[in-house]
Amino acid sequence: MESLYRTASNFGDWLGAQSLIYFPVVSVLILAAIILGAVPVLVLAERRGAAWIQRRSGPNRVGPFGLFQTVADAIKLIFKEANLPKRAHLFLFLLAPALAVIPPFVALAVIPLGGDVLFGPNAYPFQGVNLSVGLLFFLAISSLHVYSVLTAGWASNNKFSLMGGLRSSSQMISYEIVIGMAIVSLVITYGTLDLREIVYLQQSTSGALPAWGVFKQPVVFVLLWICSFAETNRLPFDLPEGESELVAGYHTEYSGLTFALFMMGEYVAMLAASAFLSTLFLGGFNIPFITEAELLKFFLDMNIEQTAASIMTVACQFAALAAKIGFFMWVFIWVRWSLPRFRYDQLMSLGWKVLLPISVMNVIGTMLYSYFAAGGAA
């Protein structure tokens, strides 16, 4: 055990000496590896979860408990011919799958994944990029996701695809307005756009409960949760690819690797939405009732060198964040196999006539509350 600590400490020294400036690069690479590793697990969880909900066995033949089923699926998709329709707009047709994957990855970069890693006097946040406007940046980049669906629908030169693309864009625009209004009241509550600062604001406890955003703004939490289903095109809002009406919607013409990219984009977008919700409402990487300083002190008291102790702290915090993300991911799967699809007019009236008025009322309520809570002075 002693030698293990020494190895860790030497490793820390080496990192501290060699690659301080490369830390952002390292954290981005770790982030990309985590996302790429998580997607196959999620696909398998979805299939096994669906089977469990429907009282089937699900994929259980490839490897123990069907663990390698996604690997087999991936190999099949990679070696399958990607069909290019003759009258499709080739450039946009091939651009669309790339646009489906890139924005969720970039959006995930601003999510704080853990506390500070300490190298001597320097502290490095475990996060892809620490932006002062992370909250807005996440919304901006995830709003670009709609382009993939739109261009895929149009470039396929297929009526079903076009209908799917148009449906998707009007759906996303409608629900983005709700998201924007909901975020306004959240920003008033937190008083910052910095996601890292928001996480640290939720570190303390208020009474018996942790000071999480879900207890401060429960209405916004429900609104954003509903909207995240619409933004990721998941059931009950998967109108763009409703198979009973539109074959497969915008990705009807896609096959092989191009289809795999769309599927991967959907799962990464779900991951991003879950991480966003966890960060804003469930305290992000905070472990309930334990602050980062307490956890670090716990490891330091075990005679662990500072850098190694901070890395262990960050690992614990990341595990907490992963558990929260896992919860939201499971609800995504659970809802998909529990609720039927909305009709298109129901979807629109839910967005415009129910969610939007609620979010506007909530903004007004939050403004009045913060005005009077501050003593009525501007």
Binding site: T151, E176, D194
Partner: protein
């Protein structure tokens, strides 16, 4: 002295080329996509000078919202290249082009005082850069917007409201034909 980095040169080239594609492209959807590219890359250019808030808002509003609507409309109309009439060389187009070129030149000239000797940015621009680099840039911008520029802000809001009402009026069906259509 701020000297543009290689990244900024690359971004600038890309912005100009997508802008040219927007104007010269024969396919309306490709033009709209190029416009989206121009606006998005401009947002990235703001990021390279440290104006994170302005860059984010640029992407959020222009690339994320306005261009989606634009492309949505273009796709809904389903304009094929052969359906679009390319205007000929009429005097009125030359006139319009001349006016636009004049305004564009004026805009460029009006920013020239910001450039010091050797085409480098002078201290005023650097100070402005430092201001946006400030972590509180969102706060600083909103405070300025809601105090110093309150009147233009409100006037813009009024203008947008008028535009929305205009759209409602234009989009309204003729009441006579509407009631006939219901057949009650």
């Amino acid at each position: 002295m701020i000297e543009p980095t290689i990244l900024q040169y690359i971004l600038g080239t890309l912005i100009l080329s997508t802008a040219i594609l927007t104007v010269l492209g024969k396919n309306p959807v490709m033009s709209a996509m190029s416009l989206m590219g121009t606006l998005f890359l401009t947002g990235l250019l703001y990021f390279t000078v440290g104006a994170h808030f302005v860059g984010t808002v640029q992407i959020l509003i222009y690339a994320g919202a306005i261009c989606v609507l634009l492309i949505f409309i273009v796709m809904l109309l389903d304009l094929k290249p052969h359906n679009v009439r390319i205007p000929g060389r009429k005097p009125v187009y030359l006139f319009a082009g001349g006016i636009s070129a004049l305004f564009a030149t004026g805009l460029v000239i009006s920013t020239l005082p910001a450039l010091g000797t050797n085409g480098m940015l002078d201290s005023g621009v650097i100070a402005a850069n430092n201001l946006v680099e400030d972590a509180q840039s969102a706060k600083a911008i909103s405070l300025t917007l809601l105090s110093k520029y309150m009147l233009p802000f409100q006037v813009t809001a009024l203008l947008l409201l008028a535009a929305v009402m205009g759209v409602v009026v234009i989009g309204q069906k003729n009441k006579l034909t509407d009631s006939e259509g219901k057949g009650s």
